[in-house]
């Protein structure tokens, strides 16, 4: 099952995503996509790792290529990928270059699907950064198109799509309960 969670900054989307993880059984993995650049970043990562360990998560740091993650087989595990806006940025702006949004979209979707096949439940947090009407520089606009396309593709494949607004989960696409 794939769950896509979107929302604005501070909307409570992460907390909702963690709630979805609490319902899952088995080992819980947290896929952290933030790219660590300096000591400040390292400290932040160390702090977050500890918080998540207390919540029962095993943290996997993967700023690109989430399709390369190997989840140990056999357990009914689940994974929380946070967040798609970081991952797409890392895939797009690497080594001082800007990659084309089309291939970036295809790669990220393929990576996410490979990851999704390995777990019983994959919860993906993304970010609604599309509603400010600003015409940014061409690189940023291309990034927005890539992230928008990734969100559309994953939403199409997902079992549930949720937008979190002021901490309230609004179901955009509901998981069909088989019972």
């Amino acid at each position: 099952m794939i769950y896509l969670v979107t929302g604005g900054s501070g909307s409570g989307k992460s907390a909702y995503a963690e709630q979805l993880m609490e319902q899952a059984s088995g080992e819980k993995y947290y896929i952290a996509t933030m790219r660590v650049r300096d000591e400040e970043g390292e400290q932040k990562v160390a702090r977050h790792r500890k918080i998540r360990r207390d919540k029962g998560f095993v943290t996997i740091e993967q700023s690109v290529d989430v399709g390369r993650i190997e989840i140990p087989r056999g357990d009914r595990s689940s994974a929380l990928l946070e967040c798609m806006s970081n991952l797409v940025a890392n895939e797009m702006f690497a080594e001082g270059q800007i990659r084309e949004p089309g291939p970036v979209t295809e790669k990220v979707v393929a990576d996410v699907l490979r990851l999704g096949r390995q777990v019983e439940r994959l919860v993906i947090v993304t970010n609604n950064v599309f509603e400010d009407g600003i015409s940014y520089d061409p690189g940023t606009m291309a990034y927005l198109r890539a992230l928008g396309a990734v969100n559309c593709r994953i939403a199409d494949l997902a079992d549930q799509v949720t937008e979190v607004v002021v901490g309230i989960a609004v179901q955009i696409k509901e998981a069909v309960c088989p019972y």
């Binding site: 599309f130 509603e131 400010d132 927005l144 198109r145 928008g148 396309a149 696409k173």
Partner: protein, 127 residues
Amino acid sequence: MELYIGGYAQGKQEYVRSKKSGQDVEIVPDLHLWFRQLLVEEAEIKATEIKAAAAKAAEVKAEQVVLTYCEEHPDCVLICDEIGNGIVPMDQTERAYRERLGRLLIELAKRADRVERIICGIGQRLK
């Protein structure tokens, strides 16, 4: 008239085109860009300082152009970017663009038979 609103790159056009495929409807794919252009034209006319042109400016008010179009095309489908959920811009033109488009969309939504918001390529019916 139907109104489809949503953020940049949310798959609005694909959504509407697949929904309306085979139907003979007039689609306005980027209402926000059209409206922005109308605001530019309106400002240009006002800037001429020619009395006849200034008097004419009232007739070409951007909102009225869009509303008239909708009256003349009662079966049209309007697609518009959501542009109002960000920091209010310092620049007066940018600020007026967001404010006036927002107000226009309220009016269009009142008149529309159907209003949907598209997010992640999925439509939420608001009206």
